[in-house]
């Protein structure tokens, strides 16, 4: 039994124009101590997937159907008080923007100790001691002195470290990192990623890393799920996905990475994917990538929705034209 099993999760947001199908049938499994990377471009439903797992979807949005099975519990059926007890204790979460994720009117120490005392039976003194340990664990120098500082005296990277300290403070079994490095300077991104990996090993956590940056998941994830328009379009081990991408979208994403080691890289144009992601109010009926896919149009893939199928052991893809089944290159290159 995996630690986390998400099955056919659907999260919809009613709007004036209609229902936005932000997450539309997402399924995956995550074993203990493993790392899953979820990649995809903005608005593809990565963050909503994470928030749905945590039960943090704000009204009027709601999880319409599907199940989230975590450590023997069905999270979607829990009462609010019950899932609040799990948040922070068994599942920790880190958000994208550390600059705004800390309350500017409370000291760092207050914010960490309140999280600790919320879930663990600690005295004020014990909690404070544990908070110092935590800050040291995320490599913040002078931890005991900096505990009484307000957030404005911390840099972005340090604030993200504080957020990480808070997320792991109660030894969760699962850590969800929603774009943990996106808002940070490039120079501190690697440090934060290393820290996450270090903590994951020490605390024996499973981790979900959500990102739009292929480089981030390449280094840390065991498995990678590629999301497009609210669905997972390809899922495989990190190595297999990078070596032999099957879905045209994944191929295009990898093709869009700048290649600095090629001889004429300086003068080459950056590759991009033509078109834009579909409107989630009325997504394409069949394959959602079809309008942008250079292999589409030669068969019925634009009318028959492709299923997520296992093309080889451990490698799932949702496309009528996975790379290994392609007989020929496309006729017309757009």
């Amino acid at each position: 039994m995996a630690l986390l099993e998400v099955d056919d999760l659907r999260t919809y947001f009613p709007t004036r124009e209609g229902e936005v199908h932000a997450v539309d049938g997402v399924s995956f499994k995550l074993e203990e101590r493993k790392t899953l990377g979820i990649v995809g471009e903005s608005g593809c439903g990565k963050s909503v997937t994470a928030l749905s797992i945590m039960g943090l979807i704000q009204t009027p949005g709601r999880v319409v159907s599907g199940s989230v099975h975590f450590d023997g519990k069905e999270l979607t059926n829990l009462k609010r008080r019950e899932i609040e007890d799990i948040r922070g204790l068994e599942i920790g979460m880190i958000f994208q923007d550390p600059m705004t994720s800390l309350n500017p009117t409370l000291t760092i120490g207050t914010q960490i100790t309140e999280t600790l005392r919320r879930h663990l039976d600690l005295s004020r003194k014990e909690a404070r001691k544990r908070a110092v340990d935590l800050l040291e664990e995320v490599h913040i120098p002078n931890a005991s002195r900096r505990l009484d500082d307000y957030p404005h005296r911390y840099s972005g990277g340090m604030r993200q470290r504080v957020m990480i300290a808070m997320a792991i403070s109660c030894n969760p079994k699962l850590l969800i990192a929603d774009e943990p490095t996106t808002a940070l300077d490039v120079t501190v991104q690697a440090g934060v990623l290393d820290l996450l990996e270090e903590l994951r090993q020490e605390h024996a956590m499973a981790m979900i890393i959500i990102t739009h940056n292929m480089g981030v998941v390449a280094e840390t994830a065991d498995d990678i799920a590629v999301m497009y328009a609210g669905q997972i379009v390809e899922q495989a081990t990190a190595l297999d996905l990078f070596d032999r991408p099957e879905h045209p979208y994944t191929e295009a994403l990898l093709g869009a990475l700048p290649k600095l080691d090629e001889p004429d890289a300086r003068n080459a144009r950056l590759a991009s994917i033509p078109g834009r992601p579909p409107d989630l109010l009325s997504p394409p009926e069949a394959c959602r990538f079809a309008p942008r896919c250079k292999y589409a149009g030669t068969d019925d893939c634009a009318t028959v929705p492709p299923e997520l199928r296992e093309i080889r052991s451990g490698h799932w893809v949702r496309s009528a034209h996975p790379a290994s089944e392609r007989a020929r290159e496309p006729v017309a290159v757009s």
């Binding site: 009204t59 922070g88 920790g92 958000f95 705004t100 994720s101 409370l106 309140e114 404005h152 808070m166």
Partner: protein
């Protein structure tokens, strides 16, 4: 010759020093946040606000005027030998003089002391009603904004309906229902008539703050609703609440004065500024000071409170200053 040269050099030196000091002041003023941070000051948010408030000349003058007025109403009745309730017809309608700085009324009572006492009543009612308004408005607004959804919608429509009712008739009606006018019924009437705006603003504040990442982060570590509300939302509205105290206060004082003027005031021989103005109204052609002085006191309070509120808004929310 030599003396002239020395004088010139000295003058130049003084000028240089003066400009240096000016520059120092300028850096201290604009670099408030950085300066405070560097000095390891804890509550730099409030310190910055105080600094910005001090830099606002109108607000500082208004604050001083406000304090002077408070001192006047607090200390004058203590220090004066005049009995504010002693009737002495031989002293009736005395124009302002050294013995009676504000003159005397138709019963020969010293107006200086009576205005101070009336000010106590007016300002006490003002503060009491303002705090009651804050209490009701903050509670209503936070519940509405925090819970949101249908409840929010219902509560706001109810508020809209109340908005439709005219302000003073509402207060008059409340007083009529109570049947008597005293300090507390006056406070209740004024509160009932004017808590709407605070409630609306609080709701708006809570809804805005609710969208903050740190509120989401608090939910993500399992914080209960009361923790989110009392730890993360309400403390961050403190600035707005302080501003609103000074915005509501003049309105309430004016409302009280108006009610008193039309005869729904505190019962004699006690008085508020409104009832004093009402008393003076009877003789305003022969003794205009009787109505002018209490009116000026009301204006003094209202103007100073408004300017303080304005300065506080600029100080606590510097981004709003551009508007």
């Amino acid at each position: 010759m030599a003396i002239d040269e020395r004088l010139a050099a000295e003058r130049a030196g003084k000028q240089r020093q003066a400009s240096f000091e000016l520059a120092l002041e300028a850096t201290a003023g604009d670099g408030g946040a950085r300066g405070a941070g560097a000095a390891l000051q804890r509550a730099s948010l409030w310190r910055d606000a105080l600094q910005r408030f001090r830099a606002n000349r109108a607000a500082v003058i208004a604050a001083i005027a406000f304090l002077v007025l408070l001192a006047f109403v607090i200390f004058v009745p203590w220090l004066s030998h005049e009995d504010p309730y002693a009737v002495d017809f031989s002293q009736a309608y005395q124009n302002p003089s050294w013995a009676h700085p504000f003159g005397t009324d138709e019963f020969g009572r010293d107006l200086f002391v009576r205005v101070a006492l009336g000010g106590r009543v007016s300002i006490a009612i003002g503060f009491a009603a303002t705090f009651a308004i804050m209490g009701v408005g903050i509670t209503y607004g936070s519940i509405s904004g925090f819970i949101g959804g249908k409840l929010d919608n219902g509560m706001m429509r109810f508020l809209d309906a109340l908005y439709g009712l005219p302000y003073l008739p509402f207060a008059i009606l409340t007083l009529a229902i109570f049947g008597t006018v005293n300090f507390w019924t006056m406070v209740v009437a004024l509160t009932i008539a004017s808590w709407f705006t605070t409630a609306r603003v609080m709701r708006g504040q809570i809804i805005t703050l609710k969208e903050n990442d740190y509120v989401r982060a608090a939910h993500a570590v399992g914080a209960r609703w009361y923790r989110v509300l009392f730890r993360h939302l309400l403390p961050n509205t403190l600035g707005v609440i302080i501003i609103f105290v000074f915005l509501e206060l003049p309105g309430v004082v004016l409302g009280e004065a108006f009610l008193s003027f039309i005869g729904l005031g505190i019962n004699p021989p006690k008085a508020s500024w409104g009832t004093l103005a009402q008393d003076g109204y009877g003789a305003y052609q022969t003794h205009p000071y009787l109505i002018v002085i209490p009116s000026l006191m009301i204006a003094w309070l209202i103007l100073s409170a408004f300017f303080v509120a304005d300065g506080l808004r600029d100080a606590l929310d510097p981004r709003a200053r551009e508007f």
